[in-house]
């Protein structure tokens, strides 16, 4: 502790129980206090903290803004949390190269705002973008609605400066393409802090589109909306974003914002196309044709920039609006092949109904990334049962050829379910990659990989294991 204070300064190290309270949870369900929290101010301080922790035999949990949804930043065992929120400078924006160099504590939105001044934008736009950090976005391979056209963080991170578990500061990739040596950048992106601590990131920026068209298509039910979305993808015209909102979500959004979405709609699709005027005109016409052919009862365009921004504000703050219905929720992030979305949604909603939960669906339907939100009241409804329903939902998605997580990560929420996706050799190959960076397992232990005991004292851990092993509790 003394060493941490020497490195970071007294005001940037937390260890009193009352100070640790805010560091014991993320945006997911689990909580557990760390031993201590260090908030270094430079990459060198990060490296010194890692070395000090190593010398003391402590493990480390890297953390950004704590907006993660899968427990990736919850400290297990004797872990010290190292937060990167003080590393928040935008180092440079190179307009000609279309590259931004930023520190990991910079928020996602701050990059977009800074890029805009140069006629550029940063594509990944998770709903948490106002507060979530670039370091955390990279750690979880975050996406957001516009990942549909532009891809997730892994498609936009060009280089990473990383403090290795040894305490050494290392550089991977960069603004120049295909530098000599193994390309570890896509391995580090999405590794959820298990390979080191990111201290600088080289990001790809894109030219702002000339025109953006946003429209809302209304459907009588979820099924027709989902089939229309699949039909749009099948045409090959990939919108910039395509989101589905169901009836429950629409009600919550109308109550929270002045969006005036049709209350009687069974579902709606929020679709956006971007490009040259000639492109958006062509694509919008093609998409509207498909929407109408597939049962849209109405298609409305956002007439003004203000209207468009309101729609997106409602979408991105929609998760919070759901608290008006029930105080707690359990959100999943499974992805399924796009052609399977209609049938999977039917099964997911049937599961919720069978368990008696209100379910809200507000998700990235264009890339098959479901976000079923089970709404409940933890004061009267046991979380174990919600988790059981969630596990059934995961199983349905996997049976359809899907994946456990599209953009939130595995963390400690879904690590035991990794056995449902990968065989022992597949998981062992992932472990080999981790061991190449962190042979002693000091970085974020207990996350991603199933079977470990580092997080065994997390209350929900026993339930998750039992569910993953097929022993329903």
């Amino acid at each position: 502790m003394r060493r941490l204070i020497e490195i970071c300064g007294d005001e940037n190290v937390f260890w009193r129980p009352e100070d640790l309270l805010v560091w014991e949870y993320d945006a997911g369900f689990d909580r557990r206090p760390p031993t201590a929290v260090a908030v270094p101010g430079t990459a060198e301080e990060v490296a010194a903290v890692v070395q000090a922790a190593r010398a003391a035999g402590a493990t480390i949990v890297p953390r950004g803004a704590g907006t993660g949804l899968s427990g990736g930043t919850i400290a297990c065992a004797d872990a010290i949390v190292v937060a990167t929120t003080r590393l928040r400078s935008i180092v440079s924006i190179d307009r000609a190269a279309r590259v931004a160099v930023v520190e990991p504590g910079v928020t996602n939105l701050a990059v977009s705002v800074a890029a805009r001044e140069h006629g550029l934008f940063f594509a990944p736009d998770p709903a948490s973008q106002k507060i979530s950090t670039i370091g955390g976005n990279a750690g979880t391979n975050a996406g957001g609605p516009h990942a549909l056209r532009y891809g997730s963080m892994v498609n936009h991170v060009l280089g990473i400066e990383l403090v290795l578990p040894s305490g050494e500061i290392a550089m991977f990739g960069g603004a120049v393409a295909d530098v000599p040596g193994f390309d570890c950048v896509p391995l580090i992106v999405g590794s959820e802090g298990t390979l080191g601590i990111i201290t600088k990131v080289w990001l790809r920026l894109l030219p702002l589109p000339e025109d953006v068209r946003t429209f809302v298509a209304i459907f009588a039910d979820i099924d027709s909306g989902a089939r229309a979305a699949s039909a749009i993808i099948a045409t090959g015209v990939v919108p910039a974003a395509m989101e589905m909102l169901d009836k429950v979500t629409i009600g919550a959004l109308n109550a929270a914002f002045e969006v005036h979405l049709p209350e009687d709609a069974g579902s709606l699709l929020l679709v956006e196309v971007e490009g040259l005027n000639e492109e958006t005109e062509d694509w919008a016409a093609a998409i509207v044709r498909v929407l109408k052919k597939n049962g849209a009862t109405d298609v409305r365009s956002a007439a003004t920039q203000a209207e468009r921004e309101l729609l997106w504000k409602a979408r991105k703050l929609g998760y919070a609006a759901l608290a008006r219905i029930k105080p707690n929720n359990y959100l999943h992030d499974a992805v399924v092949p796009r052609t399977k979305v209609p049938e999977v949604l039917r099964e997911v909603n049937a599961i919720a109904e069978r368990y008696g939960y209100i379910i809200a669906n507000m998700f990235h339907i264009g890339d098959g990334n479901l976000h079923p939100v089970l709404l409940f009241d933890a004061r009267t409804q046991p979380v174990d049962r919600v988790m059981e329903a969630s596990a059934e939902i995961l199983k349905v998605a996997l049976n359809a050829g899907g994946a456990l997580s599209g953009e939130h990560g595995i963390g400690l929420e879904k690590n035991h379910f990794m056995f449902w996706v990968f065989g022992p050799e597949d998981l062992d190959a992932q472990r080999r990659a981790r061991d190449a960076f962190d042979p002693d397992g000091t970085m974020n232990p207990g996350k991603i990989f199933p079977g470990g005991d580092a997080c065994a004292d997390i209350p929900t851990e026993r339930t998750k294991r039992a569910l993953a092993e097929g022993m329903w509790v």
């Binding site: 603004a175 590794s191 993808i233 190959a429």
Partner: protein, 390 residues
């Protein structure tokens, strides 16, 4: 399928393998790699062998494992814009399978009749598609591979967005068959644009670079942008010292408008879209090729006037196509590396590479990590030992 196995196709820098295994399924690859582990042999995995010589010569070369017969589409779901293919499927075969549904894999490594999907990822192949569609690894979402110890392993999946554990699929990108043998890939696809038009301008070298810079800075959505210089330009039928090539794609109205705007910026004429096949073949067929790249804010110290090269200005990358003397290359590499750039010998003799201090130049990955990855995935060093740094 009857592609004859020609030992010379597998020669690397004058080395020929003692044996050739022509794999037709994953089990063949597993057997070959396990066998090599047992016998202490070194393997070089190849696809279409269009970039087999990239990298340092392997320390040993006992067996060539040729995957060009491990080909074919395993699953194609047009509604998902996803296809799963065997690694030895050529880009041409893939394009042919996807075209009837109006779809494509937007990666353009050159020599599509030979280049394979697996080789394209394994060698992180460049090309004009890098401008709009970026890296080949951005269009790969799942893989089956055989590790250096003979273990078959699956990664990723069939969905376009995935953070279910480590992204090993993309880690295999650019590993040149030194960590794993790729046997199957699941690809993300896109729609073939309604219209594609290519334009060429005959310019002198400075004007070509200046115009290319303006075009890129305009932010107009160009599909491809290249400058070809020296006798390479002549070979394309260009009439000046340099040919500036632009490709425009999209809905017909968008392509018309882009064409109008480009013609305001430069005098140019239409050229058949096939010109890009010639452009991409140049670096693969030259006797000597060096790939150089530089930070966009800097200028590489290269006199392109009268010198054959293919340059992709939007990516700050160039392929130099005529051998320069070793001392000059050494100075060029040093000047590029001093500002964060690179100079990689993609096609050169073993002697040239050795005298230059290696094919790659200074590695940009911590060597401790590179070695640890190699040891974990290929513990006995059977996969092209010495080809990559580390």
């Amino acid at each position: 399928m009857g592609v004859a196995v020609r030992p010379d196709l597998h020669a690397i820098d004058g080395m020929t393998p003692g044996g050739i295994v022509r794999a037709t399924n994953e089990a063949d690859v597993v057997d070959a790699i396990r066998g090599a582990n047992e016998r202490g042999e070194a393997i070089v995995v190849s696809g279409g062998a269009t970039r087999l010589g990239v990298g340092d010569p392997p320390a040993r070369y006992d067996v060539a494992v040729d995957l060009s017969a491990l080909r074919g589409i395993i699953e194609y779901e047009p509604g998902d814009l996803v296809a799963t293919v065997r690694a030895g499927t050529t880009l041409a075969e893939l394009a042919q399978a996807l075209a009837p549904r109006g779809q494509c894999w937007p990666v353009e490594p050159g020599l599509p009749e030979r280049a394979t999907v697996g080789g394209t990822l394994a060698s992180a192949a460049g090309g004009p598609s890098r401008l709009r569609y970026f890296h080949p690894r951005d269009w790969v979402i799942g893989a089956r591979v055989v590790l250096g110890d003979g273990t078959p392993v699956r990664s990723g999946g069939r969905v376009v967005k995935n953070v279910t554990g480590y992204d090993l699929t993309r880690l295999w990108s650019g590993t040149f068959g030194t960590l794993v043998a790729i046997v199957e890939l699941t690809l993300k696809l896109t729609a073939i644009p309604e219209r594609a038009v290519s334009l060429v301008a005959d310019l002198d070298v400075p004007a070509a670079f200046e115009t290319a810079k303006q075009l890129h800075a305009s932010g107009l959505p160009l599909d491809a942008l290249a400058v070809v210089t020296g006798d390479a330009a002549g070979a394309l039928g260009a009439r000046g010292d340099a040919a500036l090539l632009v490709r425009l794609t999209g809905p017909a109205a968008a392509v018309r408008r882009l064409g109008r705007e480009i013609r305001e910026l430069m005098r140019c004429r239409d050229v058949a879209n096939e010109v890009w096949s010639d452009v991409t073949a140049l670096p693969l067929e030259a006797k000597w090729t060096a790939r150089v790249a530089w930070p966009a804010a800097t200028q590489p110290a290269i006199q392109f006037a009268g010198y054959p090269a293919v340059i992709y200005p939007g990516n700050s990358t160039a392929y130099l196509l005529r051998s320069i003397d070793g001392a000059t290359f050494g100075r060029l590499r040093a000047s590029l590396e001093a500002v964060g750039g690179i100079a990689v010998l993609e096609r050169a003799t073993a002697e040239y590479k050795r005298d230059a201090g290696g094919a790659w130049g200074t590695p940009r990955v911590p060597l401790g990590i590179a070695r640890a990855l190699k040891e974990r995935f290929d513990p006995r060093g059977v996969l092209a030992p010495g080809r990559m740094p580390g």
